[in-house]
Symmetry: C2
Subunit: 206 residues, 2 copies
């Protein structure tokens, strides 16, 4: 693959088109005399250095379409562009990841803040969703049998809890639930505010 080193070290005499601009010509002889340019070796060195650099660059680039000098640079360019692109994509993904995980940790910390309150202020939220469906959130300080009593009370109200989540921590209980009003229950659907007051009364009675 490597080209044969040309051993062409013949002389080269330049001739000006109009004026004789020659500087390093041997004044004594017009005849072909051996003359070496001053910067011959320097130029050789420079060329070698440049060649080495290009070789090094080529070794870094994974895909090489052609060994030629121009294509080496082209491949390097495309490679750099690819790398830039991947870096962008990765940073985007990582940022998304961080934001999502940050949200989760945020809720966690919020919960922990609630836990650290020590004594919980009772809280009841009742939201009417649609038809016989309600969304309930209850927070209260746990006591002996309080959860069972609350369940009984809810059952007395004529509700059934669906998709319930109950979290207890350090003596506090947080309940969020979708509640559905039992159709076969006697009496009409109570008002959301009524339910709220009723539940709050029960919790406070604990």
């Amino acid at each position: 693959m490597d080209r044969v080193k040309t051993e062409f070290n013949d002389l080269c005499i330049t001739e000006g088109s109009k004026m004789d601009k020659r500087k390093n010509v041997d004044q004594n002889e017009d005849e072909g005399r051996k003359f070496i340019s001053k910067n011959l070796e320097a130029e050789r060195k420079r060329r070698k250095k440049l060649s080495d650099r290009q070789l090094e660059l080529r070794s870094l680039v994974p895909i090489i379409t052609n060994m030629t000098k121009a294509t080496i640079i082209t491949d390097a360019i495309t490679y750099i562009e690819d790398l830039k692109k991947t870096v962008e994509e990765l940073t985007d993904q990582l940022q998304q990841m961080e934001t999502t995980c940050a949200d989760e940790e945020k809720t966690n910390s919020e919960e922990e803040d609630i836990k650290k309150w020590g004594t919980i202020t009772p809280e009841v939220q009742v939201n009417h969703i649609s038809g016989t469906k309600l969304w309930i959130k209850i927070v209260f300080q746990k006591k002996r049998g309080s959860l069972t009593k609350l369940m009984e009370a809810i059952n007395v109200l004529g509700f059934d809890l669906t998709d319930t989540s109950i979290t207890t921590s350090r003596g506090a209980i947080l309940i969020t639930s979708s509640a559905e009003f039992a159709e076969n229950f006697h009496g009409g659907l109570p008002d959301a505010d009524q339910i709220k007051k009723f539940l709050l009364e029960i919790i406070r009675s604990f």
Copy 2:
């Protein structure tokens, strides 16, 4: 900064050291005649192309220590190395992120597997921990009022649930809880296996 374009388009005649290896020399004249090499323009074009490539490469690299050709390539090399490094770091970070988040998602997927069973096989686990403390795990298919009834049953047994976690999903209920036997309850502490059978009976009665 740009070097002045040398308008040196003078002719160049090469002279062999011993033998005359000239090929394209005008045979009629030994005197300096205008002679153009065949691939003169081609070479010019090639050089221009190469120069353009290098210019393009230089435009991509952000930090440039020197305008010289060799340093351009060197800077490109260091830039590529930096990009590689950042890509590695980012992939590592992202992998860590994914693994940590994967754990959370794993539990989720496990739950989802449970959800997909469609019909749940009732399951009760009761483990004696210490003294009056038990650990209970209950899985069963939800029905109207089943949760309340279970709570009542547990209350009847003389237990209070502490640190309870109730998860409901697609009609299935999973309860894990630390249960404490009420001291003031009449009768002795039942056997764990007895409790288990009792709870299982209740669940099956739903």
